[in-house]
Structures are given as C-alpha cells and as structure tokens.
C-alpha cells in the first residue's frame, strides 16, 4: 500500500535537548568500546575455503586465515549470518572469489561490517579472479532465460593447479603490500609453494594422462577449469541451466546424450541431491561420483594439495571402473 505524503512546514519548536543528550550518551558509549588494537598477525578472511587454503600456503604463521563458507556448502547460497560480521570487522584482508559467486550474500556483510579496510575497492579487498584464467565468459546476449548465469565468466576457476599458482602469487603480493616487513617471507613461501605444486602437478598429470579425452557429466557447471587442465570433456550438466533444478525432459535428453557419447561418469558436488544423478546412472549404466569442488568438502581434505589428491584418486578409480 502506498501513500503519498506531502511535505509540511512546521514552526520552529523548542528542541528537546534531553533527547539529544540521550542520543549522544549512547553514541559515546559505543565509542568507548573500540575494536582491539591491531594484532601482530594479519587477519585474513576469505569467502571460500579454497582461497583460505591458498592464503595459508603463502601466509604461513604470519597470518590468521578463516573462510566464511564451508567446503561442503554451495558457495552461491551462503547465509549472511551476523556471526560472520564478528570475523569481518577484525579483518585486514578479505579475499573473494569474485565473478559474482558471492553476490547473494557477501555485499550486505561487507556493508554491515563497519570495517573500512575491506570495503569494495579498499586496499584490504582482494578479488582473486583477476589473477586466474577464466573460462565460459559469455560473448553473446546475457539474459536470465539462461538461468543463473555469471556474466563475467565461470567463478569455479580454482580447480586448475595453474590457477592455484597464479592466485597464490597474487595473494603473496597483496600480503606483502599490507605487511611490507614480511614481504620477502611471503615471496619465499610462494616460491616454496610453487615448487611443491609443480612437483605435485607432474604427479597428477601422470595419473590423469591415461584418461585424457574421457567424457563426463557434472551436476552444475563447476568443473571447466579442472576438465581443461586434465584434458577431460564435460559433455553435459544435470541442471538444465545453471541454478535451475533438473527437469524430466532435460534428464531424458541427457540420458540420450550420454548413451550416444558413451559417457559413464556423473560428477556431483557434495551439496546437490543425488536422486536425479542416480536415476541417470541407472539408465546409462554409469556411475555417480561425489567429487569435491572445494577444500574442506570432506574432513580429511584440508589443503589445496589434498583437494587434488582426493579428486584425482576418486576420478581415476571411477574411470577404471567404468572402462
């Protein structure tokens, strides 16, 4: 119901100074309790666990890092709980995935945090997507008829070790900028990470090499960077369009496609329902695999390296079983 309220001019009345006094007393009460003095360690908050894992690699014991979203949670739909504000108000650096992944929940948290350091555009706000190779950047007309499409490109870019390296390098640079005395420390940590990652990458590449060119279906389009790096082909999605739940007609089409293309593997993120993928697997004689898109998706997966170890072990086993 809408009412139109006309402006009214009032005579100048006596201001009630007691009211003002009450308000200013309240304000000064707030002011008394200023946040703790800056701790020695840099306080880093990240939107997702993957960014936290990469920050921990280069930040070492010079930073405290915590992620808002959990690794087994759909990062598109995180609740903007006030408890996150307790972390954000103390943060020196906020690392976001960007490309509108967190659009539904992070902006109000940033606004409410009362922390000038991490506001969008401030020095303590880091959009990690700027460092990474981004796929699926739409070039035609973008409308919501395409579902919950990301106009700036696919935000699930961290599942490529090369992007992991680039992001880590970017984070190391930012940490050095915020904490110049330890700049060399962060660079050393990055170099060490780079070497360990290159060694691991050789191992992962070798493990995945026999399955180069294999076809898979994923629930959501969260796998393109992994697929590109390891030479897999994603031929379809359980979702008819990003963010739209499976429909019977699309499921039938997908079953037909998988049969034609002899694709046997359906990869599902841990936060999606397995009912439709399992019925597709039954129809196609395929296999459903719950892969991890993020660090922390399972308890034992706590580092960026373990994420790839876990997923590659899962995939190679599944590829062998669906030979």
């Amino acid at each position: 119901m809408v009412r139109i309220r006309s402006n009214r001019r009032k005579g100048i009345g006596m201001l009630n100074w007691t009211r003002w006094a009450a308000v200013s007393a309240l304000l000064s009460l707030f002011a008394l309790v200023t946040p703790n003095a800056q701790a020695k360690k840099l306080n880093v908050v990240t939107a997702t666990t993957d960014m936290a894992a990469l920050a921990a690699e280069v930040g070492g014991d010079k930073i405290d890092v915590e992620s808002i979203a959990k690794g087994y949670q759909d990062p598109h739909f995180v609740e903007a709980k006030p408890s996150f504000l307790l972390k954000l108000r103390q943060a020196d650096l906020l690392i976001v995935v960007g490309l509108q992944l967190e659009i539904g929940w992070l902006p109000p948290l940033i606004t409410q945090s009362g922390n000038a350091r991490i506001q969008v555009g401030a020095n303590g706000y880091l959009d990690a997507s700027q460092f990474a190779e981004i796929l699926d950047i739409p070039t035609g007309t973008v409308t919501r008829a395409m579902g919950d499409v990301h106009p700036l490109g696919n935000p699930h870019y961290w599942l490529d070790p090369d992007n992991g390296r680039r992001i880590a390098r970017g984070i190391a640079g930012k940490l050095g900028e915020l904490d110049p005395p330890n700049s060399a420390y962060y660079q050393d940590r990055f170099k060490d990470f780079d070497q360990r990652l290159s060694a691991a990458e050789q191992k992962w590449d070798a493990e995945m090499k026999p399955y180069h060119g294999r076809k898979v279906v994923t629930y959501h389009n969260s796998f393109p960077n992994f697929a590109k790096h390891f030479g897999l082909q994603v031929i379809g999605y359980v979702e008819p369009r990003p963010g739209i739940p499976p429909t019977p007609s699309h499921t039938i089409e997908l079953i037909g496609l998988m049969k034609r293309e002899t694709c046997k593997l359906i990869l599902v993120e841990p936060y999606f329902d397995l009912k439709t993928p399992q019925s597709i697997a039954r129809e196609t004689g395929g296999k459903v695999v719950q892969y991890l898109p993020s660090v922390g998706g399972e308890k034992q997966v706590t580092t960026y390296f373990q994420l790839f170890d876990y997923d590659i072990a899962l995939l190679t086993k599944a590829f062998q079983e669906t030979q």
Partner: protein, 440 residues
C-alpha cells in the same frame, strides 16, 4: 581509458606473437623443450594476468549486477610487451580475442556513459484475493481487492564513493508513487560505526525492516497493522547509527539508535519540529550449531501521536527467530520460526491505551522450490485496547527460480466484534535486474 591501454597492450602483444610465428627469425636450436615449455608457461601467465586486469577494469567501469563490481583496478604496469619468441597456446589467443569482445549484458553494456549507472531492479508484486471481509474498511487493515498490482518496487543501488553507498527503493502502487526508502550508508567510519542518513524502514523488530517481497506471507501480521503503522511501518526520514558491541565469544551483539522526524503512518505524528521520534534496537545472535542459530532482539520506539505534541506513543518489542539450515543440503531444506511481541502505550483522551499483540510463525522448506508456512495472529487495537483481533494463516510458496515466487495464503480472521473473515490470497512476485541482497 586504462582498459583501452591494456587492450592495446594485449593486442600488440598478440600481434607480436603471431608475427613471431613467421620463420623470419629462426629460434636457436639450442633451446631444450623444457626451457621452451617454461617460457610458454610464463607467457601464458602474463596473458592471463593481463586478461584479469582488463576484466577488473571493465568490471570497475560497468558494474553488471547487484553487487557493484570490484574496483580493484590494477594499474597496467609498463614494459609488459614481451620479446616475441614463441606463439602462445591457440586457446589463449582465442580467450584474449573473446575478452576484447564486449559481452552484451541485456543491452546494458557498451556505452561509457552508462558505465557508472547504479544497479537497477524492479520487483513486481501482484495479488489476487477471494472471499469476504466486511471489516477491512472499518479497521486499520489494508483492503485487498480482487486483483491488484500491489506494488512495483524500483531499486537503484550503487557505491557512491570510497566512503559510502546509496540505496533507493521507490515503490509504485496503484495510487501513486512513494519513496519507500532512500538513504546513504557510511561504511568507512572510524571505530566500527555504520551510519545511515535518509528515509528508511526503522529497526523496530523484524517485520518492520522487511520489504514486501521478502515477507514469507502475502500481507503483514495483525499486530503490525494494529500497532506498528501497517504495511509502511515505522518508516521515516532521519538518521541511524549502528555498531557491533563487545560480547562474550561467539555472541554477536549489535546496537542501533535512530532519530526520525516523527511521522510514521498512524503511529507517530509530528505537529512541531521538535516532535522527533526515536527507535532503539539491540540484537543478539548466536550460532547454536553450524545449522541452527538463534536471533533475539529488543526494540523501543517513542514518538508523538496524532492527538498533538503533548501526547506520546511508546512501543516496546521483543523478537525471537530460530533458524535451521543444514549446510550440505542448504538449497533443499530449511526452517524459520519467528515471533514478535509488541506492547503499545498510547497517550490519548480520555484514557491512555495500553495494547498488546503478537504473531508466531513457522516456515519449512519442503524441497528446493517449495515452502510451507503458518502464522498465528493476536492483537489489540492501539486506539481501543478493549478490542482484540485474532487470526491465522496457512501459506504455500513455490519458487520457479530465484527470481520469481508464486504464493497462496488462506487467512482466517476473527475481528473484535465477532465478525469472521475467510480469505484466500494469491501472490506473484517477479524480479527484474540486479536487486541487492538483503541483510540476514
């Protein structure tokens, strides 16, 4: 523009690469494969870094959706043109080419003049009603006709400068246009303060803060209609200051103090310039488990009423919300139980009226797109505390996507004079454009 500069650098770079493919300068045969591979990787990294910089610059120029895009504009560093040695991987070239093509964002992209436009959204709220309600015109309840384009809310939101953001919500009803909210939020104040100045919905309780399209019901509870100025609620021009307060570990405590002109529907009325109203709210929140949390609040509002400057209305409120949402299945199941208790103390002649009202509601998400809820209402009337209205509702909501909802609500109301009303409402909410996320 910086973007053009970076684009030019990339184009030159790519051209140089292509040129290098000509056999004019044969590569020294001594290069081992691994050195070449290393070189290629470095070049690829540089291209990707430049792509990222272009993306950031573009995003800074044309915020494409609800969140004003990151303005982390990395300045193009000089000397980025690498000496031509080896052509980068063809897909990298294709990506760079794709980047130089402007994505067409539903016709909004392109022109530099539009680049700094705020995020624009429109939310339509259509309501249909069945059943009789002979009371609706005699009490403060909003009459709901058979069909109504109840509200079209235009949202304009943007970051203003490094210190503030602005939000405007202009609501077009069937009778006219109203500035529902329009305020600036200062986000970079010292000592953790956040301040708002403008016209805004006050923080009295929970429902008062909510826009129509985020309510879990078609209409608002009886207690809101009877005691807290109905649909518009306590919504006034003034300023607001909030801050997170120190509390034991794990507890979120936030205090908000607001000072308004003193005009809010039939609750507050300012006859003189000094007749300002205030609202104070204290919010406590705790995660009980990862999936469950409890949100408690107490509110106080004080203002002058339509009897004149000498007559005050005091409102006291307590709100409690219990939420459950298992993180692994957060898109499929959730529960919200909520209640607000409100006491009104209204000075009027011949006697002051002390009224009380509450609602209790529960909403359960049955599946990804289905929500079932119910609400119980009970409220005295603010001008005559001897009259009490009661009611209850059952609500079923279907979400075709994040951007539309179809809702049906059956409402039974027993008004104070023992008149019963049975009504069925159908609501369709649809959202266009980039509407900013609402606070939790």
């Amino acid at each position: 523009m910086n973007a053009k500069l970076v684009s030019a650098v990339v184009v030159c770079f790519m051209a140089a690469q292509t040129f290098a493919q000509q056999p004019a300068t044969p590569a020294p045969a001594a290069n081992s494969d691994s050195a070449m591979e290393q070189r290629m990787r470095e070049l690829e990294d540089r291209v990707i870094s430049l792509e990222g910089q272009i993306r950031m610059l573009k995003a800074a120029q044309a915020p494409p959706a609800a969140q004003p895009a990151p303005t982390q504009a990395a300045a193009p560093s000089g000397g980025e043109v690498a000496p031509p040695t080896q052509a980068p991987a063809p897909e990298t070239q294709a990506q760079a080419a794709a980047l130089t093509q402007e994505p067409n964002l539903g016709g909004a992209g392109g022109s530099a003049a539009k680049a700094l436009n705020p995020d624009i959204s429109v939310i339509g709220d259509f309501i249909g009603a069945l059943g009789g309600n002979s009371q609706q015109n005699t009490v403060s309840l909003q009459p709901i006709p058979a069909f109504q384009m109840h509200e079209s809310e235009l949202g304009l939101q943007s970051i203003i400068d490094p210190y503030a953001r602005g939000d405007f919500f202009i609501s077009f009803g069937e009778e006219g246009v109203n500035l529902e909210e329009g305020y600036i939020t200062f986000t970079a104040l010292p000592a953790g303060f956040v301040a708002k100045v403008g016209k805004m919905r006050s923080v009295f309780g929970k429902v008062n803060m909510m826009h129509n399209h985020v309510l879990p019901w078609v209409e608002r509870p009886l207690v809101t209609n009877n005691l807290v100025a109905g649909e518009d609620g306590i919504n006034d021009a003034g300023f607001s200051v909030e801050r997170i307060l120190p509390a034991p570990k794990g507890i979120f405590l936030e205090g908000t103090a607001q000072l308004f002109r003193g005009d809010s529907g039939d609750v507050f009325h300012s006859s003189e310039r000094s007749d300002v109203s205030t609202v104070e709210h204290l919010r406590g929140y705790k995660d009980i488990t990862e999936s469950t949390n409890l949100d408690l609040g107490i509110s106080y509002a004080r203002g002058h009423n339509d009897q004149g400057s000498a007559f005050l209305t005091h409102l006291y409120g307590v709100d409690a919300t219990l939420r459950w949402k298992p993180l692994r299945r957060s898109i499929y199941h959730s529960f919200v139980g909520r209640s607000e208790f409100i006491w009104s103390d209204r000075q009027q002649l011949p006697f002051n009226q002390k009224s009380f009202g509450y609602y209790a509601s529960a909403d359960y998400q049955l599946a990804r797109r289905w929500f079932l809820g119910g609400r119980f209402d009970h409220s005295d009337r603010s001008r005559n505390d001897a009259l009490t209205d009661k009611g209850g509702s059952v609500v079923l909501t279907y979400w075709p996507s994040e951007f539309s909802q179809l809702r049906g609500q059956y409402r039974f109301t027993r008004y104070a004079n023992n008149i019963d009303a049975n009504e069925l409402f159908v609501q369709l909410i649809f959202s266009l454009g980039a509407h900013g996320a609402h606070p939790f």
